[in-house]
């Protein structure tokens, strides 16, 4: 006899939370494509999409419909199973990061206090790195399974780029972790939003800069979009893809962009903390649920700014050459991150033990 002790309400609560967060991320990614064209249009002094709906707001729906209607082509010489697995993996790893991000403090529903974080594990940041390193497989498998030399080259480029920049990213995070003393994202946000706490950007400006550059490289965004460099590798690792499988790859990029924007806001800009306001005092005057909504909006506003920044950079800075990219990653970013780590370590030691001389 199998007896399962399952807290049904708990599972229901988490299922609704996961569904909600995934829906929100998908919608944000969908409208990022629209926003990207609008921003591009603004920067290049043109209008951008404006035919479908008011301000072209229905454009993402039209694009999605187009992708669904296109013919699904699987090349004859490709490896069919891996060819389909590739985009699925890319999409899945892009969505998995959202599990450890705190989207707000808590809400009260039907007398239950629900934390607005899917899983508060005490290795939150390491989990994100694990998911990030899985993201390489989506690109590599898709590129290899296409059985096309351009795709394979682009996939290898993408993978080596992501591995190289992961190192500098990890080193820049280590400096932050020395200050916070915790790997849990919730604790990091709470430290920043507590009364008298400052946002981590004030303590770690250099660390943030390194993290941001590496986030650009991890998302394969310009100036680091070598894997899909269209003028040298045709269309990169998704050259053979069509229909919604291509859509998955393109969409995963926008979800990654959203997730890294949220992550930057969480780690360095106070997360869901409402700026210039004492959150704890606000809870007493407004009630938990209202404050949770405001906190969520605050996080989204910060993330929206970073998404805009991603686009701003894309339409301003030209692409790096591949050797320049590797040079920047290994010879500039990693030494800078190491120096940042050393300085932080010395400061932390002096603050704990006093000036020894």
């Amino acid at each position: 006899m199998i007896q399962l002790a399952i807290d049904l309400a708990f599972i229901l609560e988490k299922a609704i939370l996961i569904g909600g967060i995934i829906t929100v991320s998908l919608v944000v990614a969908m409208y990022s494509t629209w926003a990207e064209r609008k921003v591009a249009g603004f920067m290049q002094d043109r209008l951008g999409p404006n035919r479908a709906g008011p301000f072209g707001l229905l454009q993402p729906l039209a694009d999605g419909l187009k992708l669904f209607m296109k013919e699904e082509i699987i090349p004859n010489a490709s490896n069919k199973f891996l060819f389909i697995l590739g985009p699925g993996l890319a999409m899945m790893t892009a969505m998995m990061t959202s599990a450890v991000i705190p989207w707000g403090r808590e809400i009260e529903v039907f007398g239950r206090t629900v934390s607005l974080q899917i899983a508060d594990i005490n290795i939150g940041i390491l989990y994100i790195f694990a998911v990030l390193s899985m993201g390489v497989y989506g690109i590599m498998i898709g590129g290899w399974a296409s059985n096309n030399k351009f795709s394979l080259l682009a996939a290898l480029r993408g993978a080596s780029q992501m591995i190289s920049y992961e190192l500098a990213m990890g080193l820049s995070i280590i400096a932050l972790l020395m200050l916070t003393g915790s790997l849990s994202l919730k604790t990091i946000v709470e430290q920043q939003s507590a009364a008298g706490g400052w946002w981590n950007i004030l303590y770690q400006p250099l660390g943030f800069l390194i993290f941001m550059v590496c986030a650009f490289a991890e998302c394969n965004r310009t100036p680091f979009d070598l894997p899909e460099a269209e003028n040298e590798l045709n269309f990169g690792y998704h050259q053979e893809y069509s229909s919604m499988k291509l859509g998955f790859y393109l969409f995963a990029e926008y979800i990654n962009m959203f997730m890294s924007s949220v992550l930057m806001a969480t780690l360095y800009f106070g997360g869901y903390d409402i700026p210039f306001v004492n959150d704890a005092a606000l809870v007493e005057s407004m009630g938990t649920n209202n404050v949770a909504i405001l906190q969520g909006l605050s996080l989204f506003a910060k993330a929206a700014f970073f998404i805009f920044f991603f686009m701003w950079v894309r339409w301003t800075i030209p692409r790096f050459r591949y050797d320049q990219l590797m040079h920047l990653g290994w010879k500039v970013m990693i030494p800078l991150a190491l120096i940042n780590m050393l300085i932080t370590a010395v400061v932390v030691l002096i603050r704990q033990n006093g000036w020894p001389f």
Binding site: I2, Q3, L4, A5, I6, N79, L82, I121, N122, I123, L126, Y127, F129, A130, L132, S133, M134, V136, Y137, M140, I141, W144, L152, A155, L156, A159, S160, I163, L183
Partner: protein, 166 residues
């Protein structure tokens, strides 16, 4: 059966199937992917033992970095079943005998080990948590830890020397 037991058996089946697929599959890329699945199952076992840090580091280092390098090499060498040279019959036989000997030694060694009487702390142990692990590594085992880092450094220098074109 509790949830933990169900998860344990599920992960065990995944790990063993993955490990078998690594050996039996004809396509080397499938072998690598099966090995990644095996690492995931082993990480699941670590989580069941409440060793979260070990689980995540296993994923980052082995599944995330080392297996990517494996894939790199295999994809660039373009190993297909057609191009792979057929091994000598006697070589295969010798391999089987050697593998069997290794299995025998392993089984014999594990039979006498006292791990049989040790009960694993499922879900409740706290030695695997990152805080305890860090304190242990940097207090009690700091010298072995530093020495192993020197070992890694020498490996890195060796790789640079080998990779340098003269």
């Amino acid at each position: 059966m509790t949830i933990t037991e169900i998860l344990f058996w599920l992960l065990t089946v995944v790990a063993l199937t993955g490990a078998l697929l690594v050996v039996t599959s004809k396509n080397p890329v499938y072998s690598v992917l099966a090995l990644i699945a095996t690492f995931f199952a082993i990480s699941g076992h670590y989580i069941l033992l409440n060793a979260q840090f070990l689980a995540v580091v296993n994923l980052i280092v082995y599944a995330g970095a080392i297996m990517v390098l494996f894939l790199f090499v295999i994809m660039l060498m373009n190993l297909n079943t057609e191009t792979e040279p057929q091994k000598n019959k006697w070589l295969k036989m010798a391999g089987t005998v050697a593998g069997g000997c290794l299995l025998l030694v392993l089984v014999a060694a594990l039979r006498d080990a006292d791990s049989k009487s040790t009960i694993a702390l499922v879900n409740s142990g706290d030695t695997g948590l990152i805080e305890n692990l860090g304190k242990l590594l940097f207090n009690e085992y700091v010298i072995p830890f530093e020495i192993s880092s020197v070992l890694f450094l020498s490996a890195m220098v060796g790789a640079v020397v080998l990779g340098k074109k003269e």
